[in-house]
């Protein structure tokens, strides 16, 4: 994989399904922009198709799906099949509060990994962790400090 600079990397960000939790992506958008990413923020209540169309239109390198309200699994069914059909291959992350009720996060992670997401983040995730992960996955040069933070 070539070494990218964050400046040229485009990230599609949004909240999927009928979820309207906007605070998290507002914070993420700002942090990603500050870190040098090109961010396309779809906002809340975005459909799978909206994510895919945006990824196509903006040549998105990564698709960041947020879900807080507990319906992530239903909302993401078939998402990766649709991505494949659309003939694009972005990095896909999902994060937030992914299950209804007081679940064990390891199970949740496995579930979404199986669905095709490259990384799964819980709701304790800080924007810096998402940025470090993106840089690692996109092979963007990053400082030692960030690398250290990522691996912990």
């Amino acid at each position: 994989m070539e070494v990218l600079s964050a400046m040229s990397a485009t990230v599609i960000l949004g909240v999927i399904g009928s979820d309207a939790h906007a605070v998290g992506i507002t914070i993420l958008e700002q942090a990603l922009s500050t870190a040098g990413f090109e961010v396309v923020n779809l906002g809340v209540q975005s459909s799978q198709q909206e994510f895919i169309s945006a990824a196509q239109a903006h040549e998105g390198d990564a698709v960041l799906v947020s879900s807080l309200y507990g319906h992530a699994e239903q909302d993401c069914r078939g998402f990766h099949e649709a991505i494949e059909e659309a003939d694009i291959d972005p990095i896909t992350y999902i994060g937030g509060n992914l299950a209804v009720g007081q679940d064990d996060f390891e199970e949740t992670r496995d579930c979404f990994r199986e669905m095709g997401f490259d990384r799964v983040f819980d709701s304790e995730t800080k924007p810096t962790e998402a940025i470090a992960a993106l840089k690692a996955d996109m092979n963007i040069a990053e400082s030692e400090a960030e690398r250290a933070r990522l691996t912990t």
Binding site: S18, D19, A20, A31, V44, H71, V100, Q102, S123
Partner: protein, 477 residues
């Protein structure tokens, strides 16, 4: 054209038919529904239980898909939680008027025993299901949801015996959805309120409760109160006579007490005399700590605030708020922690310096926003509020809705009070704006940094990280 005037009987039945075509529900016989309500004991009359109480009543949040589970859940909150009032929280599909999907979820839940819906699909349970619920419990129950177009939900649940209904055209649109047009939402809620008014006129008071916390995240009190007043005025026009104005804790004791006082006095000022105004205080609605012990600290600060300010109702949080929908035990624990604190503090005479000054500031700010709204609408609050949101003259921080500018950004001042960092077009008098800017400048100087979005981000995280103010340097600072 949208106007703040009472819907006619014909309007009501015309709409009634239309909404029924969205999803087949049994025919609702208004007279029979009135008779049903009349058959309920006085202890289930939501409005009178709330209005006659001599101490803050406690109400949790709770909703699961299946009827028997919901009965068990509410029963637990009544017994183990000693809740004074109960909720039934509606699932997200119903909020989107996706009754088909809700039906699927309900059936999956019935088959698998797992909860694949995040609430109680009241429309799918129908009038009979609702009545079973009402009858199974001793305490009045409110419908809590987040539905922009709640017409069918209201028709079913009112006939189903519920006597309190949360939400409003602004508070269940701006924080809860992206694409709903505000003018349309107001029309939809005129129906809901008119229906409540129709019951009220027949002696069955339906309590209505604008959702005060909005996005739950650092909402400046004047904005929250202005929205509540607008929704209260709209409801009163339709004949609603029991209105509970809401406000969500921001975490600064003085500001929260001041805001609750302002809410009450402005409510009485702006709403017609025929309407009885009560207040509800929501324990912290923003991001919670990922730790039950620390979450209990957040809940307790809310309870302490309520003990001093004495709103009519307190909506409690559970220590599991961060993690997901709480277990019934955690939900009941949140109630009991709150109750212990309120009952220990309520009889103490506690007066804080500076409450009056902050209250005046909040009242002036709210009046400034209300003046703009009424001016823009030529004294018609419905048209005014649409125009105001359209132009960003009234705005809500972190609002996901396309109907709001979402340009207002809040941050805490050096004392932890929520102030406004970026106003967008917010129609606040310049001298009031100066106060905000001044206070935030003071904080910026204290922290040796510029006023910036980073401050906002730090403040959003602060409580979940164990502090009130997001000072640089993080947790340890």
């Amino acid at each position: 054209m949208l106007r703040d005037r009472r819907l006619s009987g014909e309007d009501l039945s015309r709409i009634d038919e239309r909404i029924r075509s969205d999803w087949s529900v049994e025919d609702i016989d208004f007279e029979e529904a009135i008779a049903y309500h009349e058959s309920l004991p006085a202890s289930k009359e939501f409005a009178s239980v709330l209005e006659d109480a001599d101490r803050p009543l406690l109400q949790p949040r709770a909703g699961v898909p299946r009827l028997d589970d919901q009965i068990a859940l509410l029963g637990h909150l009544e017994d183990a939680g000693r809740a004074d009032l109960l909720p039934t929280t509606i699932d997200s599909y119903t909020r989107d008027n996706e009754y088909e999907k809700a039906q699927q979820g309900l059936e999956e839940a019935r088959e698998s025993g797992e909860d694949t819906l995040n609430g109680f699909p009241a429309v799918n349970h129908g009038v009979e299901g609702c009545r079973e619920l009402i009858e199974a419990l001793d305490t009045p129950i409110e419908v809590r949801h987040g539905t922009p177009d709640a017409r069918l939900l209201a028709a079913v649940t009112f006939a189903g015996g519920f006597q309190s209904f949360e939400g409003g055209p602004v508070s269940y649109n701006i924080p809860y959805t992206k694409g709903h047009d505000l003018a349309e939402t107001i029309e939809h809620w005129q129906y809901v309120d008119r229906l409540a008014g129709a019951y009220t006129e027949r002696g069955v008071t339906i309590n209505r409760e604008p959702f005060g916390p909005l996005t739950g995240t650092l909402v400046p009190p004047a904005i929250a109160i202005a929205v509540g007043l607008v929704e209260g005025m709209l409801a009163a026009t339709q004949g609603v006579r029991s209105i509970t104005l809401g406000y969500g804790q921001v975490g600064n004791l003085v500001q929260d007490i001041a805001a609750l006082r302002a809410l009450k006095s402005l409510g009485e000022e702006y709403l017609p005399n025929e309407a009885t105004v009560t207040t509800v205080f929501h324990e912290w609605m923003g991001g919670f700590p990922p730790d039950e012990a620390r979450a209990n600290g957040v809940i307790a600060l809310g309870a302490a605030t309520a003990a001093i300010a004495e709103p009519d109702k307190v909506i409690t949080k559970s220590p599991q708020e961060f993690g997901g929908v709480p277990t019934k035990e955690a939900n009941a624990a949140g109630l009991r922690t709150t109750k212990q604190l309120i009952d220990m503090m309520r009889e103490q005479d506690i007066n804080l310096d500076g409450v009056e000054r902050e209250r005046e500031f909040i009242e002036e700010s709210t009046r400034s926003l209300m003046d703009t709204i009424l001016q823009l609408g030529d004294e018609d609050v419905a048209r005014g509020v649409v125009e105001a949101f359209d132009t960003g003259k009234i705005d809500v921080p972190f609002a996901p809705s396309d109907s709001a500018e979402s340009a207002v950004l809040p941050a805490r001042d050096d004392d932890g009070r929520v102030r406004i960092l970026q106003f967008g077009n917010l129609a606040l008098d310049p001298d009031l704006k100066d106060v905000h800017t001044d206070r935030l400048d003071r904080r910026a100087r204290a922290e040796n940094r510029d006023r910036s979005f980073q401050m906002v981000a730090d403040d959003v995280d602060a409580i979940s990280e164990g502090r009130l103010i997001g000072r640089p340097g993080g947790e340890g600072a």
